[in-house]
């Protein structure tokens, strides 16, 4: 199906991109969500502002104990990135299992978060990791946690004139992590992240895809995580992937599996 016409602008600096953003022109990266939304008639922008040529939005680096991932980085590249494989393997493994190989070679991490697809694996794991995002607008720069950013289904707390520049994950020396998901269609039915920094007594659990937004909680020990209690805390959206009751059931099962998997992970 042919899309309605639009202009395509290709800035090479962040400043230029910000100047191009107006009420009727929207950021564009891999297009895996945006072009579909346009095809479905949900969006009819006059112009797409391609973010792929802006250097600030690319690369992965460690900056003062924080892993910084450029927003335009694509899933396939993150899944294979040496720095991620070394410093945060749980993240690389999660990226390796997003959607399908074509979505992974085209879709970006920033686009995933900005679209706030309720079945995002990325948002679930990032929330559990206490990650934040950097947003830049003509008025300046701000950093917000992923929990503050992804606030509703298809709703990220972002102004139209803002660009997501990078994702920041605080690194922890002895971190162990597991991410498991149940998926029969393109997107997961449930995704569960469990993270443990035993030395610091820091334990996090994230559950996503079952409800409108991912949820994450802190615990004092792994023993405190009760799969049935977690299943009662989520707010599942009944859809083609299952009823509310069914989704609570698979949530408990996958929390159990995530905890079992974590036992096998040394770091």
């Amino acid at each position: 199906m042919t899309l309605p016409p639009f202009a395509l602008v290709r800035p090479t600096t962040l400043e230029e991109a910000l100047r191009e953003l107006t009420e009727d022109s929207v950021p564009y990266c891999g297009g895996t969500e945006l072009l579909l939304a346009m095809r479905a008639g949900l969006h009819r922008p006059d112009a797409l502002v391609d973010l792929k040529r802006i250097p600030e939005l690319t690369g992965v680096r460690v900056d003062d104990g924080v892993l910084v991932i450029g927003a335009a980085e694509r899933h396939a590249d993150l899944a294979a990135h040496p720095l991620l494989l070394e410093r945060l393997p749980v993240f690389a493994r999660m990226e390796k299992h997003i959607g399908n190989a074509r979505v992974r070679s085209q879709g970006s991490i920033g686009g995933n978060l900005c679209f706030a697809e309720p079945k995002s694996d990325v948002a679930t794991l990032l929330m559990a990791l206490e990650a934040s995002v950097t947003l830049v607008s003509p008025g300046g720069r701000r950093t917000v946690t992923v929990e503050e950013f992804v606030v509703g289904p298809y709703y990220a707390e972002k102004e139209p004139d803002e660009i997501l520049v990078d994702i920041r994950i605080p690194l922890r020396a002895g971190l162990r992590g597991a991410y498991v998901k149940f998926q029969t269609m393109e997107r997961p039915t449930v995704g569960v992240a469990v993270l443990a920094d035993d030395a610091a007594g820091w334990y996090r659990l994230g559950v996503g895809a079952v409800g409108e937004v991912p949820l994450a909680w802190s615990f004092g020990s792994l023993e405190e995580i009760d799969p049935d209690d977690i299943a009662s805390r989520v707010d599942p959206t009944p859809d083609l992937a299952g009823s509310e009751e069914y989704k609570r059931h698979v949530t408990a099962v996958y929390v159990r599996r995530a905890l079992a998997k974590l036992e096998q992970v040394s770091s």
Binding site: P4, L8, N100, R102
Partner: protein
Amino acid sequence: MTESVSEPVATSGPPRMPVTVDVNGVSVSRQVEPRSMLVDFLREDLGLTGTKVSCELQVCGVCTVLVDGRPVSSCTFLTADADGAAVTTVEGLSDGQTLHPLQESFVDNFALQCGFCTPGFLMMSKALLDGDEVPDREAIVEHLEGNICRCTGYEPIVEAVEHVAQELRGGAHG
């Protein structure tokens, strides 16, 4: 395309942008609309109809082509984004004389029935086998998960790819 006298092309119609794409080893330069999708460019502008289109949602994989070696859904990929890139379609697999080992193997293993999904599966498999590691069966299944075969020919398809992987490994079949 027909140009009507009452509608001069120079002043009407959406603006176009120049693209130069290497398609199966041949450099092609054209003016395309920003909204031009790679699948339409290949099929309609270049007449390369091997690439099929179906779901237009990136879930079926029949439109898979390689852009700089990476598999993408050409149904949801702007032609403009292929500017300066190398695109490989199913037509680019064989040199016109000998079939690509994957094509041979698909034939030998009865991995095609109606054949509609075949170009997508071939291109997806090529992307996998061109990678650094020779994949095992599990990796093949995982990689091909995003492609749909309406004739449900999955087993022979996986076997066909596995055979080529075994050959790449230099081992005997089985």
